[in-house]
Amino acid sequence: MKKTKTYNLIISGVGGQGQITLKKILCQAAIKQGLDFKASELHGLAQKGGSVVIHFRTGKKVYSSLIAQGKADLILGLDLLEAARAIKFSSKNTKLVVNNLFIPFFKQSHFSEGDLLKLVKDKVKKINLVPASKICKEKLGNEIYTGVFLLGYLAKIKSFPLKKTSLISGIRKVLSKKNLLINLKAFKLGASLSENGIKRVKT
């Protein structure tokens, strides 16, 4: 990343998936690295099972807290459908990292990775489908660590501006002592995820 360029991250999911915690960790990591940052979140009605999108921007100097359409460097989808919903922020160069999970609701009971691929195949070049919730449930006993696990995965990405050490320091600041160890474990698990576990789709 060039020093002057702002890095734009979208985290898209369903209310209750821990987006606010992830945002707090990212902000602390940016402070640790001496970077400017802005983040935006929605509250109120949106929290209760609705779509929740976090915009996070970091760089030398950041003004808008919202990312313009087509300007996201990375979209992290915590849910397959919500990843599709955030696609207006992507360009051909945007990385799309998606948790291979769909949370059903009244009006829709099914949405598969195939459905996502069909919808976004001509919008992005590459999609990484990560079975994060599945791994967290199997290895840590609970899906609630999915977000932090995926943060670990992002730390591996070369262009991602926040370093592993700053993110870990962010986790230590943000999460309560009670949940700290297991979240650090989730982060490390994500950071050391073998490439075999990820489905890379070139469109």
Binding site: K32, K48, G49, S64, A68, L81, R85, F106
Partner: protein, 542 residues
């Protein structure tokens, strides 16, 4: 950012709290409402750490009146609410502006452009400036939210008038770096010293008070000129003939849009909506041939500039609301598009969003309201009953799978609207109301329906907490006691989860009564303790 050791990542709302603490605030009152809720929540969490007197009041006008009492008695005071709360407070607010508190008093309100958490209407409350005639500052970032709160206290102390901070959701709920300063130990005790000169609002003195208030506009404007606000930013090689005037969040998007379009227009950022920095504006527009006014909501600044330009530069072409719809919130895309039109440059937004099924909000798993709506749906034919809704989690009864809300206007309206329908029709009407909303604004409606004799069925959703805005505590008074005192004859109190069958039977029975009736459905919210658990946790620890 060299001072990274002193930097906190704060929401705009949290930054307001920090600004107040650094100003030595001693008394704070609020009624929760998103997007302003975190101001009260944060004070509730840290009140004992920093020794601030804090209360969740029963509603916004009560919060303001409590604040007035404290400020009249010489204790620095902050009052906060959302835009609808500002409406509720107005009966006390306008006369307050005629009086002279004995300590700094700051009122913070948050508008909600795009109605992210305000189902009922999208209002631009800056328009109140012309009724209040009080200084009104508008921050655009968390750091400014802190700085402007401190400045507001300073202006208030100097001119002995309340000062208003105008937030919008996108600033309230935006996180950014904020430099922490020194938190003052507050003075929390005062004394009310009688003074007709300061506090009398009886005629004919009230007219004299109004004159004095209006006369302050010029000295305050002069004072603000000495402060580091309302800047004009000249980019390198800037254009001489055209420029941008903007404010608050609009400034942030303008910065991005100028980079995207490689534009070099000078920008005047208006931080004081009242009084406007007239000299700066005149200096800015004097030699220009055209200006673009980028503001969210109504054309509040635009109207003022149009008046000022008649004097200074009658040929000036002013663009604003003709290019930006006064509906919804601004964002970098909208502002870039508008700026491109103003510059005559080609720019388009690729509308690449997909048509996907909306994920509507719903009750949390395990919420007692599932049981209440389920029982109503089984007890009556929803097509044949009118449901008057109200503000709280139960407003989600509007969405699938229930779709059982026919009217929704404001806090407390359900009972009175149901009463009105009942007065003119024979239809069956159920009024929904939550425990906190009942205490906030429902009581006069019940008294009215009893006194003026109608027979709606009131269903009280009593979950013992202000759930929707973040689980704030509410007064512990029992709703049924108030209903009874107001004159409601048929009252049943039950647990909608464990006594669901009884709830269904009671609904059927009460809907046939010739007098007003009420069922209090009492079952605590599953997350009732979520704010309580955070008490003692400060977001201001470095």
């Amino acid at each position: 950012m060299a001072q990274s050791k002193k930097i906190l990542p704060l929401l705009g709302n949290e930054a307001v709290v920090l600004g107040a603490l650094e100003s030595g605030v001693g008394f704070v009152s609020t009624y929760s409402g998103t997007p302003a809720s975190e101001i009260g929540n944060t004070f509730y969490r840290i009140k004992d750490i920093y020794n601030v007197r804090f209360e969740f009041s029963t509603n916004e006008i009560v919060a303001l009146e409590a604040g007035i009492g404290a400020a009249y008695s010489g204790v620095k005071t902050l009052v906060a609410f959302k835009h609808f709360g500002l409406n509720v407070s107005m009966d006390a607010f306008i006369p307050l502006s005629y009086t002279w508190p004995r300590a700094g008093m700051v009122i913070v309100f948050a508008d909600d452009p795009n109605c992210y958490s305000s189902a009922q209407s999208e209002q631009d409350s800056r328009i109140y400036k012309d009724l209040l005639h009080l200084p009104m500052l508008e921050p655009g970032t968390p750091q400014q939210a802190k700085d402007f709160t401190k400045l507001a206290f300073e202006i208030s102390e100097k001119f002995e008038k309340p000062v208003v901070i105008r937030m919008v959701g996108r600033v309230s709920l935006q996180t950014g770096p904020v430099i922490k300063g020194k938190i003052k130990r507050p003075k929390t005790t005062g004394k009310f010293i009688k003074s007709r000169e300061r506090f009398n609002t009886m005629p004919p003195d009230v007219l004299e008070q109004k004159r004095k208030l209006l006369k302050l506009k010029q000295p305050i404007r002069k004072y603000l000129q000495t402060k580091n606000i309302n800047p004009i930013i000249y980019p390198r090689g800037y254009s001489k003939k055209s420029g941008i005037i903007t404010s608050g969040i609009g400034f942030q998007y303008t910065k991005e849009a100028q980079v995207t379009l490689n534009s070099r227009l000078p920008v005047l950022r208006i931080d004081s909506i009242y009084p406007l920095p007239v000299e700066k504006i005149n200096q800015f527009i004097k030699d220009k041939s055209k200006v673009l006014i980028i503001e969210e909501g109504e054309g509040v600044i635009e109207k003022e500039i149009k008046v000022l330009s008649k004097e200074i530069n009658p040929k000036l072409r002013i663009f604003g609301k003709d290019l930006i719809e006064p509906v919804g919130e601004l964002n970098p895309d909208k502002v870039t598009l508008v700026l491109s039109k103003f510059l005559g440059k080609k720019y388009s937004i690729k509308e690449s969003s997909l048509k996907l099924t909306r994920r509507t909000p719903r009750f949390c798993p395990g919420c007692p309201y599932w049981s209440i709506f389920g029982a109503i749906k089984q007890a009556v034919n929803p097509e044949k009953v009118v449901f008057c809704g109200n503000i709280g989690c139960y407003m989600m009864g509007y969405f699938p799978p229930f779709e059982m809300t026919d009217t929704l206007l404001c806090m407390g309206d359900s009972i009175s609207v149901a009463h009105g329908i009942k007065k003119v029709s024979k239809q069956k009407v159920i009024a929904f109301i939550g425990d906190s909303t009942f205490l906030h604004a429902g009581i006069p409606g019940v008294i009215n329906a009893c006194y003026n004799k109608s027979n709606p069925l009131i269903i009280v959703f009593d979950n013992n907490v202000v759930a929707m805005t973040g689980h704030q505590p509410r007064p512990t008074v029992k709703v049924e006691n108030i209903l009874s005192a107001a004159g409601v004859k048929n009252i049943e109190v039950l647990d909608p989860v464990t006594e669901n069958e009884k709830l269904k039977q009671t609904i059927k029975q009460f809907l046939n009564k010739s007098e007003i009736s009420a069922i209090v459905c009492r079952h605590p919210c599953l997350y009732a303790n979520s704010l309580e658990r955070k008490v003692g946790q400060s977001p201001f620890k470095l």
